[in-house]
């Protein structure tokens, strides 16, 4: 379960606003960001304008769900559904922090009810269902609520004959819901399979990071898989692989570019060209009247 790595990674440095004691102590919190990759300092407004891609080195920062949707769908076309679906605590999972606490702080932090936002929209005029995952919400892990929203997305797409475009990020299955989480892999895969039988297209965009049970279920069952530059995508996360094998990992192991080399994704597409590329693919795969 690669979720380990992501929990750890979150501790160190991902998308850290510059603050406190450092040499740039004067900069007000949240207004400036240091690039994880080139370490330069970027003004928040500039980052928002560049789709959260570092203007210096092209590093792709995480994108909050609604910002991602705005980047992807035709303006104003989103009609959200399932927004009231949120996690319960079926295992009464209590550890260092209770699951209930984790979820409620995620809600507060992200302004979302769950790790995925789903809705009807159009892209390049094509009617689609979109689902966008937000890593800031419990590592965009998949529990019952995420599984349900993804499943409904496929089901609604079938009944309304819409394409599917998912922007995926995830730390994996949501540990705190135990087997209920694991079974969401089978449930979403089953829904994807039913959707597939309808001859409608499914485009997945894998963003940084996509790991664990989400990679091993609906995320990789798409007709066309794109990945964002530098995105880490895999099943077991890199730290776990390193620990288990005691081998040095290959350069860029599990990066989008590595996956491309290994035949696992259709292409690596920079965020700036994503909407256009997705729209173009929909032109090919969504013909009036559906499947041949």
């Amino acid at each position: 379960m690669s979720i380990t790595d992501w929990f750890r990674a979150r501790e160190d440095k991902r998308y850290t606003p510059v603050n406190g004691a450092g040499p740039k102590a004067d900069v007000p919190e949240g207004v400036w960001t240091t690039c994880d990759s080139c370490k330069r300092i970027i003004y928040e407004g500039e980052l928002a304008a560049s789709m959260r891609v570092c203007p210096y080195c092209g590093h792709h920062f995480p994108v909050p769900a609604h910002e991602r949707i705005a980047q992807l769908v035709d303006e104003g076309s989103l009609e959200e559904f399932g927004a009231g679906i949120t996690s319960s605590d079926p295992l009464e999972f209590v550890a260092a922090k209770s699951y209930v606490q984790s979820v409620s702080s995620a809600k507060e932090k992200s302004g979302l009810e769950e790790a995925v936002v789903t809705g009807r929209a159009t892209i390049g005029g094509h009617p689609v269902i979109v689902a966008v995952m937000d890593f800031s919400f419990v590592g965009a892990s998949m529990g019952s609520a995420v599984g349900e929203k993804i499943t409904r997305a496929f089901e609604i797409a079938v009944s309304e004959r819409r394409g599917i475009v998912f922007a995926i990020a995830s730390g994996g299955a949501r540990m705190q819901e135990g087997m209920l989480s694991l079974m969401q892999m089978a449930k979403t895969a089953a829904a994807a399979k039913r959707y597939r039988a309808e001859g409608l297209p499914y485009i997945a965009v894998l963003t940084n990071p996509t790991t664990g049970g989400v990679t091993a279920s609906f995320a990789t069952l798409a007709d066309i898989i794109f990945a964002e530059p530098g995105a880490l995508v895999g099943f077991a996360g890199p730290r776990l692989v390193e620990q288990a094998t005691r081998q040095k990992l290959p350069k860029d192991f599990q990066s989008a570019e590595f996956l491309l080399d290994h035949g696992l994704v259709d292409d690596v597409v920079a965020r700036g060209g994503l909407r256009e590329r997705v729209s173009l693919v929909l032109d090919y795969l969504m013909r009036p009247g559906g499947a041949a």
Partner: protein, 316 residues
């Protein structure tokens, strides 16, 4: 296993006493009797109160009956199928044509070894992508020729290796889930030991899930869960409790259908009746599912999966 240590210590003591000469030390007889009573009591306490973590340990017992034991005992005319026709043959997963009391089926199963050599060849039962792809090939044969599928789960999980990642194990697992989801033949799954995450799930759901009393099925190993929660794998017992991974938990969640009981100490102390009971349950499941037409079967399988999950829904 760790939790059995006090029991074994008492057994040792009793053994020593018994080896003494009663003629020389007549008081020993009484002491033996006393110890035997104590032992009986402790045995009861040990096994009747075993928790999830103890069950996980039992599920991993090296002498616990393995997929190959079930296959050898319950099936005849076994024709093993090898290879994914793409890259390799993964010995961590068994795929075979086999017959059970006249019922012809495709058997799948994780295959742990009993010896170190076997375990190395089989990667301790942790599949590579080739294993899932071999299983898929067998599933497609099952589909083409109308053979039910029987799958035995016993894996710590998918292998977190460089090559397994390079060759797309997530893709392979996802494809396998997708294939199983609407495979138009009965699929009976038996959790016989470990049910570790995606590596188990890839061949681990269907129309019926039978769990052995001490088999577990979990989204994550207790050790790794403990690492995440407490930064120490040693708190695995605690994590095992949190994860609700026992057969009984799975029944509660509507994921498993039935439990096959084991001897107090675990199936390894007396495997035959356990294996026979598993065979009986498989037979009954195949009989019942054999009556259902393929379309109803896959529809019910979908509804079954569709219903799994606990969440709240307010006004969106």
């Amino acid at each position: 296993m760790e939790f059995e240590r006090p029991l074994f210590e008492l057994e040792d003591k009793l053994d020593q006493l018994k080896r003494m000469d009663v003629a020389v030390n007549p008081e020993i007889a009484a002491e033996v009797e006393d110890l035997e009573q104590q032992l009986e009591q402790l045995r009861k306490e040990t096994y009747e109160q075993i928790g999830p973590w103890e069950r996980v340990q039992i599920s991993r017992h090296p002498e616990r009956p393995k997929t190959q034991d079930y296959v050898a005992t319950l099936f005849t005319d076994v024709v093993e199928l090898h290879g994914d026709r793409l890259f390799g043959d993964d010995e961590a997963i068994l795929a075979a044509l086999a017959t059970m009391l006249g019922r012809r089926v495709v058997v799948l199963g994780h295959r742990k070894g009993k010896t170190t050599k076997e375990n190395v060849a089989r990667n301790f039962g942790s599949p590579h992508p080739e294993g899932y792809r071999k299983a898929m090939r067998a599933m497609r044969l099952a589909e083409r020729f109308g053979l039910p599928v029987v799958a035995f789960l016993d894996t710590a999980g998918a292998y977190p290796g460089i090559e397994a990642e390079q060759r797309g194990q997530a893709w392979a697992i996802a494809e396998s889930l997708s294939l199983l989801a609407d495979l138009p033949v009965p699929v009976v799954v038996v959790g016989i030991g470990e049910g570790g995450s995606g590596g188990a799930l890839a061949i681990g759901f269907g129309d019926r899930l039978i769990m052995l009393e001490n088999a577990y099925y979990s989204v994550i190993s207790p050790e790794m869960c403990a690492m995440i929660l407490h930064k120490e794998a040693s708190r695995a017992a605690e994590a095992a409790g949190c994860l609700r991974l026992t057969a009984a938990d799975l029944i509660d969640f509507g994921i498993a259908d039935e439990i096959v009981g084991e001897p107090l100490e675990g199936a390894h102390v007396d495997p035959e009746p356990v294996i026979a009971a598993v065979g009986e349950r498989i037979r009954a499941a195949l009989d019942a599912l054999g009556e259902v037409d393929p379309q109803t079967l896959t529809q019910k399988r979908y509804e079954r999966l569709r219903a799994i999950g606990v969440f709240e829904e307010g006004a969106g």
